[in-house]
């Protein structure tokens, strides 16, 4: 409720600024003009959201699969971690904007390279958090399994993997936020196979080139909303899988 009041006040402030400073429409449209642009072109707006959402989701899912596999390898030995972990950090610090053109060149323009960019931007958070979850199992729990002469497969399935799930979700929460950003960055470079139709990144570029500032704003809001949806889906999944037993999900539950 409070969030709604803040939202309303911000809209009012926005409208007031335009009136007070006499800002022209192509610089900053009014909230109403943005809403009208969104309504008038809702079908292409939804298409853009859908395309970007799809690419971001595919990149995110791929990063979970690959990230968990890499984390499993990292969890095998401290030696492997020492050797490979710096590259995960490197992956995180390389500006995605700078390598996006390279990926386009290698993968080719189109949705696949957008997915690859979303995937790369999601990957470090998944690897780092899942690895941490896999290796931070209490010594006594491992000893308990050893007392039963448990095989390493049993240790993995019954102890390490379930223990890593809360950490995986921490990684997923971070990744879900950046997945959409990654996809949009990819689309800024990848363009579209059809004129006038593409993901949010493409549409944003197109609208800004055409000085359709009202629609541009609608696209930006849609992009934020898409990020929210991703975040809330992850939050829901986290609650669903963890609320029975994990403290972090319990507190979210009781709020």
């Amino acid at each position: 409720m409070n969030a709604l009041i803040v939202f309303g006040s911000l809209l009012a402030l926005w409208r007031l600024l335009i009136w007070a400073l006499a800002i022209p429409k192509f610089m900053l449209p009014t909230p109403l003009e943005v809403a009208r642009a969104a309504a008038a072109r809702h079908s292409s707006l939804l298409t853009s959201v859908w395309i970007t959402g799809e690419a971001a989701a595919c990149g995110l899912i791929a990063s979970v699969i690959v990230g968990v596999l890499i984390a499993l390898i990292f969890a095998q030995s401290r030696w492997i971690r020492r050797m490979c972990y710096p590259y995960t950090i490197l992956l995180q610090t390389v500006p995605i904007i700078a390598i996006a053109p390279l990926i386009l060149m290698w993968v080719g323009p189109g949705i696949l390279s957008v997915m690859v960019i979303a995937f790369i931007i999601c990957l470090p958070a998944i690897i780092a958090n899942t690895t941490q979850g896999l290796i931070s199992v209490e010594r006594n729990l491992i000893d308990l399994f050893l007392m039963h002469n448990a095989k390493s497969a049993e240790l993995l399935w019954k102890l390490r993997l379930p223990h890593a799930i809360p950490s995986l979700f921490t990684g997923l929460r971070i990744a879900s936020g950046v997945a959409v950003i990654g996809a949009i960055i990819g689309e800024l470079f990848a363009g579209s196979s059809r004129v006038g139709e593409g993901g949010l990144g493409y549409a944003i570029q197109y609208a800004s080139a055409q000085l359709e500032t009202d629609y541009l704003f609608a696209l930006v809001f849609a992009a934020s909303a898409l990020g929210f949806v991703f975040f809330f889906i992850i939050m829901f999944l986290e609650w669903y899988f963890l609320h029975n037993w994990h403290e972090s999900a319990r507190t979210a539950d009781s709020e």
């Binding site: 209490e138 006594n140 729990l141 000893d143 308990l144 399994f145 050893l146 007392m147 039963h148 002469n149 448990a150 049993e154 019954k158 102890l159 379930p162 799930i165 029975n244 037993w245 994990h246 403290e247 319990r250």
Partner: protein
Amino acid sequence: MMENREVPHIELRGVGKRFGSASPVLDGIDLTVRKGEFVSIIGPSGCGKSTILKLVAGLLPVTSGRLLVDGMTPVNAREIVSFIFQDPTLLPWRTVAENIGLALELDHSPRDSRPDKVNALLGLVGLQHVAKSYPRQLSGGMKMRVSIARALASKPRILLMDEPFAALDEMSRDRLNEELLRLRDEQKWTVLFVTHSVAEAVYLSDRIVMLAPFPGRVAHEIDVDLPFPRDAQLRSSAAMDECIGVVSKAFRGAHTL
């Protein structure tokens, strides 16, 4: 069974343990536990009490000396040994019943026999009413009961207990002490029990082994001449007080050694 009592169930001969190049944690430990005996190890912090249990469990290798469990190497003897840790070591994502079932799963006991066994174990420790609860919903004492039930699921003949009740309030600790004795009376395990508490050691044990620190070594062995079965009344008896006095005095001696 009487003739078996003379066969050492756990035998340490000149056992030493050091980690890397650090000074030894244990040095020249001689300790014999007969079948069915309840032996407590007490001593100040850092004297290697828990390390002895880990050696007997085969979770750590001995550096020197000889250690046999039921005539076998510790690792080979694991099938007849259960370890109860200081914390309950429950899997938080499993319910109470599933946590107890874990021992049966890891021991590859037949799948269709598991529910009945789990139920019997829940009954044994009085936890049927929380079978479907998760560990986070239980009190410390209840979690420890689950841990004990899980340890008993493997039908152990030797129990290694590493300060299992140290984190509990005194009331829960006393109750669990009494239940432990009751269960031992039924199941006749050999127990090696590590504790800080002289009173707990006296109440539970046939014999108390006192360690002195730096390096950990046996300072005293004291037989507890209190008759079994022991019940709550014994706690307030003069015989118990006297016994605690004797052990405490020796304990102070070991401390200043």
